[in-house]
Amino acid sequence: MAEHVTEPEDKQREAAPAGGVGIPDQGARFSRDGETEAEPRRPREAIFQLEKVVVSYGPKPAVRDVTFDVGRNEITALIGPSGCGKSTLIRCLNRMNDLIPGARVEGRVLYHGEDLYAPNVDAVEVRKRIGMVFQKPNPFPKSIYDNIAFGPRVLGRKQNLDETVERALTQAALWDEVKDRLKTNAFGMSGGQQQRLCIARCLAVNPDVILMDEPCSALDPISTGKIEDLMMELKREYSIVIVTHNMQQAARVSDKTAFFTVELASDDDHRTGRVVEFDDTEKIFTNPADSRTEAYVTGKVG
């Protein structure tokens, strides 16, 4: 796994590295403000490749048929109705489901071409590279500074801790708001600030990918806007996967979108989610291939 570790300085390299997995660009990239159009097109590099992934919590699958890939420096949105397994799926990208007794992952989850569920892969190592932001802000009951310093400290990166904290808070657009009260308890912050703190906490360990599980569902529109701006900013250096219930949010921020649906088994009401469509966000929202996607994104169902 080590050869795939990307140094932060290298994050914005021009072309895909030789060791990476190049895949053909699927059509025109969704452009924002015309910026991406101006850039020379380059082969899209996959961070994650999912093939026929099935996640189960018991005898029956919670989500199945998941096949898509996540590109470098892209925001990939997972959308769909409640219970369709979006959160279940995102939690298997950093092996968070390992913490749930009985959770099982089948199919292939490749991270930089390497099987994430191979027997020799250490889940703790995985989570160092693939950070996660949760639905509800979950700062530790510690000071703002200690929250950010937590990750570097447990990973034994204790040099230049002050710098690391300042850099993470600056990246999360929080530094100016909190620089004078770094030693105060994080619970004194507003919900939106707490969530940006959680993002900063995640950035402080220098991950490669950031997974966000409905990061704005507990926030007001202003805080949501700040987090969305932040995501646009962060995708220059990181790759982001976001689960969201808010379709406008998916349309605003993401480059690629996977639409999930939920199927009810006829005999016992067991719900199983599956991916119906994966494509450029623009295509999903303007010209989806599947009628279920269209019904969902136009608000007819869900």
Binding site: E125, R127, V133, N138, F140, C198
Partner: protein
């Protein structure tokens, strides 16, 4: 406007909200609950008063300073001496040794049960631990006297240990307290929200880091409460000390020596034949009062500590 139209519009009767009805059943329940509350307060007050009156009488015969600073405790001999320090030394020694055993073992067990054990293991072990907490202390006392001292301590120290000694009493008392500490601390750690653990795991923290750096501090108030509960039990423990540590008031801090403690003195003297109303008799209450104050101070300190260092989480 016609009167008729008003009637037509008001055909649907509006129920009156003003007719307050007294609910007598509610009053009765409230009365019973108030009674239960006051009864428990009354009992506590009664105990304090019952303790206080003979204590005050005792201090009419013996000076407070003489009692607290004297280092010779021979109330039943002639001439009597009422220095309580040897008993305090005995209590602190046994409590200290017991907590040296119970704190690491109890907290270790709590971390294992809360963070590492699979649900099925936890469901089996925790009730078993709690049953252990219900074993009568006299059993532990005889275990210390007839097994722990002769077989283990004398084995370790080459028979250089008195058959009655503080070390055996303290260590066995520690074993007795482990389930209490483990159970209360485990409850506190289990109550830490899963979201905090996930936040830490999501940063690449190992299980040990999550347990020690997130769960442990977040549960600190409950953990301190568990330790304080353990200390309170150790301070008040009578039987084990009485049986296994002998009944010799001493200022020695050598744990291989026999000792008397506050609680074991009360236990031994109360079952003896001191005449009611005598100064010797009243010592029981004075020592009991000291024990009560010690425990109270412990609890107050712990409440302050918990308030100061408490990490509030949602």
């Amino acid at each position: 406007m016609e009167a008729g139209s008003t009637t037509a519009a008001g055909a649907r009767a509006v129920p009156s909200l003003g007719a307050a009805r007294r609910r007598y059943g509610e009053d009765v329940v409230k009365g019973i609950l108030i009674l239960a509350t006051f009864l428990s307060i009354l009992t506590t007050t009664g105990i304090v008063v019952a303790l206080l009156v003979p204590t005050i009488e005792f201090f009419g015969d013996v000076g407070v300073w003489e009692f607290l600073s004297g280092s010779k405790w021979t109330p039943l001999f002639e001439p009597p001496s009422f220095g309580v320090l040897p008993l305090l030394v005995g209590t602190l020694l046994t409590t200290g040794i017991a907590m040296l055993v119970a704190t690491p073992l109890g907290l270790g067990a709590a971390i294992y049960l809360s963070e590492y054990a699979r649900p099925r293991v936890r469901k089996t072990i925790k009730p078993a631990l709690e049953i252990l907490a219900g074993v009568p202390t006299i059993v532990f006392g005889y275990f210390a006297l007839t097994f722990f001292t002769p077989e283990i301590l004398r084995g370790l120290f080459n028979a250089d240990v008195n058959i009655f000694n503080v070390l055996a009493a303290g260590i066995v008392m520690g074993f007795m307290i482990v389930p209490t500490v483990a159970s209360v601390a485990e409850d506190a750690m289990s109550a830490v929200p899963q979201s905090l653990r996930e936040g830490a795991f999501g940063l690449g923290a190992s299980k040990l880091s999550v347990s020690l750096r997130v769960v442990f501090p977040a549960a600190l108030s409950g953990i301190v409460a568990a330790i304080v509960l353990g200390v309170s039990r150790a301070i008040g423990e009578t039987m084990i000390v009485l049986i296994a540590a002998g009944q010799i008031a001493s200022n020695s801090i050598d744990p291989r020596e026999p000792h008397y403690s506050l609680a074991s003195f009360i236990g031994a003297t109360a079952k003896g034949d001191v005449p009611t109303g005598s100064t010797e008799y009243k010592t029981i209450f004075a020592v009991g009062m000291l024990l009560f104050v010690l425990t109270l101070v412990m609890n107050l300190i712990s409440i302050r500590f918990v308030r100061k260092y408490r990490q509030v989480y949602e």
